[in-house]
């Protein structure tokens, strides 16, 4: 995305143009390079203004998601608000001073529900991301590095990969009862083999480099080679995959909820909120109940996606000069 940058020429320093004198110590310093992988990565990353903006935005949203219940005058996301005068529910109140984002069809505060929903969905996204990574990296590392395992692992992968993701997700959520755990387990089982293949391909590329050959000749155990030589090289791509998998997971959550296999309605989640909004979208004056959750979903997913890609650009050593 941002690989063509120009480097500014700094103002010429007159000191640079004086003849140098011989310095014995300077000769000793010649072989030293202050290149640091992480420093270069971070420097490149922070040069990308869009990425910084999104990082701050996402950071604020994340922090606010967890701070929101601690703030004063916040309502519970699941409490049904009653009108003290009549004792009836505050149904479908439009956004206003009292209820910032309005209330839904049974009188729950949409503002509180959106933040609670974001919490749930992010939690699912991050949990699934981590579990997928753990399974995928472990399997992928063995698959890529251990030659004898290649055949068996390839066959296992082919079988898993042949079943469409939608089918796996729908079938698993159908078989298990709708709950938070069901959601996480189904998505992990549906997604981990993609990660495994990705890690495997990366490892095949680097497994026969000279330093690995040297380690092998020195009798380093396979486990140690994978842990010390191979995986550190993959840290950046693994982080990227995790970041990119989060919007995907949130998307699947919305999809599963839509077709009736999502979380129970008692747990607010972005999927549930979008779905509630969808049910009443035919009434134009109630569309705020659909539009607010969708804006939040879109901001979060787009930010994660763009940040993941910006980070992967920055972490590619070919872009470090």
């Amino acid at each position: 995305m941002a690989d063509d940058r120009t480097t500014d020429i700094p103002d010429a320093d007159p000191a640079l143009f004086r003849p140098a004198t011989f310095d014995r110590d300077a000769g000793e310093r010649a072989g030293y390079s202050d290149y640091s992988y992480w420093r270069s990565t971070l420097r490149l990353f922070f040069r990308n203004r869009v990425a910084i903006f999104l990082l701050v935005l996402l950071g604020t949203i994340l922090a606010f998601t967890f701070l929101q219940p601690l703030l004063p005058n916040q309502r519970s996301a699941t409490a049904i608000n009653l009108d003290p005068a009549t004792g009836r529910q505050f149904r479908n109140l439009p956004p206003g001073a009292e209820y910032w984002f309005g209330t839904n069809s049974i009188g729950q505060d949409l503002w509180a529900r959106i933040w609670a929903g974001t919490r749930t969905s992010l939690l699912i996204g991050i949990l699934v991301g981590i579990v997928e990574m753990a399974l995928g990296v472990a399997f992928g590392a063995v698959w890529g590095y251990v030659r004898r395992a290649d055949r068996v692992c390839t066959e296992i992968y082919n079988v898993l990969n042949n079943i469409p993701t939608t089918i796996v997700l729908m079938l698993l959520s159908y078989i298990m009862r709708p709950s938070f755990q069901t959601m996480v387990i189904a998505m992990c089982l549906a997604g981990w083999h993609g990660v495994a293949r990705f890690v495997r391909n990366q490892i095949v590329i680097i497994r026969d480099r000279e330093y690995n050959l040297a380690s092998r000749c020195l009798g380093t155990p396979t486990r140690r080679i994978i842990q010390r030589n191979l995986l550190p090289y993959l840290v950046s791509v693994i982080m990227l995959q995790t970041a990119i998998s989060i919007p995907g997971t949130i998307g699947w959550e919305v999809f599963l909820t839509y077709i009736g296999l999502g979380l129970p309605v008692s747990i607010p989640s972005l999927g549930n909120l979008v779905n509630e909004g969808r049910l009443i979208m035919m009434a134009p004056e109630l569309r705020y109940q659909l539009i607010f959750p969708t804006i939040v979903v879109s901001i979060i997913t787009v930010s994660f996606y763009v940040l993941g890609n910006a980070f992967s650009d920055a972490s590619d050593p070919r872009n470090h000069v």
């Binding site: 042949n162 079943i163 079938l171 078989i175 919007p247 077709i259 009736g260 979903v297 787009v302 996606y305």
Partner: protein, 314 residues
């Protein structure tokens, strides 16, 4: 060649067998209500047991799976229990396949044409206005959950174009939005692929050589670069075309299109187990067949692929 085809075919058959068996065994874990029909809560325990016994569901699992494969070989996918009671699954499905296939083919064709054109344009203007604008489109389509933006297309698109909000087979105009929605993801995918392919390929030595010989840009594109694009296309297209049989689950449900994808959602929500099982079976076989044909076509198109053991066979 024949050895490769046979080997690849055997692999597909084994995969299909494993998938079908797994699905069959998983379905045994389901709540039995899905086999009893709509009025299961009115039945006594004895009646329930009688129904289950009649359907063979109380037999040991190996007897069940044997019977299942025996019927499958004879082309019998079972009978619907709730969705359309006592009607064979195949009869329920038959009128629906044409809708899914027609929508799918239109969408595939549209996304191919639009996506490739977009990708070529992006590569041509790399880093400039068109590249950036289409990148925004690709990011939005990839990042925002499809369940969200497709909903908005339906909500505002139908009002904007003055077409009915749900699909109506007698009104030609109601075909447009679902087909467009189905192709959005494909357009983004093809465009990104085409862009990357062109950018990578245009720096290759063979392109430099051709240019040094004095070939025009268009001749280089048509005679050299595009030929290399056929191979990945050949691998992907059979899957894409065959996948039209299963339809788009979300969009068909959204617009109430009487196709295969919407059917799967329907039968899952109504817990019609035999239908779910049959549909999953069909969808997975279609997917496996698509990959098989894709690999074969790729082997035909790309003379570099060897038919002996090795990485190339994947």
């Amino acid at each position: 060649m024949i050895r490769y085809v046979l080997k690849r075919l055997a692999q597909s058959v084994v995969t299909l067998f494993i998938v079908v068996t797994t699905v069959f065994l998983l379905m045994r874990l389901l709540p039995v209500e899905g086999y009893l029909g709509e009025r299961y809560d009115k039945l006594t325990m004895e009646e329930r047991e009688a129904i289950l016994r009649k359907m063979g569901l109380l037999d040991p699992w190996y007897v069940q799976i044997g019977g299942f494969y025996l019927k499958l070989v004879q082309g019998d996918l079972g009978v619907s229990t709730i969705y359309r009671k006592d009607i064979p699954v195949l009869e329920v499905i038959a009128p629906r396949v044409p809708y899914s296939v027609r929508f799918g083919l239109v969408a595939t064709a549209f996304s191919l044409v639009a996506g490739l054109a977009m990708g070529v344009q992006m590569a041509k203007h790399k880093g400039r206005f068109w590249d950036r604008s289409w990148t925004v489109y690709v990011v939005l389509v990839n990042a925002v959950p499809s369940a969200v933006y497709l909903l908005f297309i339906q909500l505002y698109g139908t009002g904007f174009l003055h077409v009915p909000i749900l699909f109506d087979k007698y009104k030609a105009a109601s075909w447009f939005l679902p087909a467009l929605s189905m192709s959005l993801g494909g357009i983004a995918g093809y465009a990104m692929w085409m862009r990357r392919f062109m950018v990578d390929e245009l720096n290759r030595d063979y392109v430099k050589l051709a240019r040094a010989k004095g070939m025009t840009n268009s001749a280089i594109m048509v005679k050299h670069v595009m030929r290399n694009a056929y191979v990945p296309m050949a691998q992907y297209l059979p899957s894409a075309i065959l996948a039209t049989v299963s339809g788009s689950i979300y969009i068909e449900y959204l617009y109430s299109i009487p196709g295969m994808g919407g059917l799967l959602v329907d039968v899952i929500q109504r817990q019609d187990n035999p239908m779910v099982q049959a549909l999953v079976l069909i969808f997975s076989s279609v997917g496996i067949l698509g990959l098989f044909l894709g690999d074969l076509l790729m082997a035909v198109f790309d003379p570099r692929i060897q038919f002996v053991k090795g990485e190339g066979a994947r």
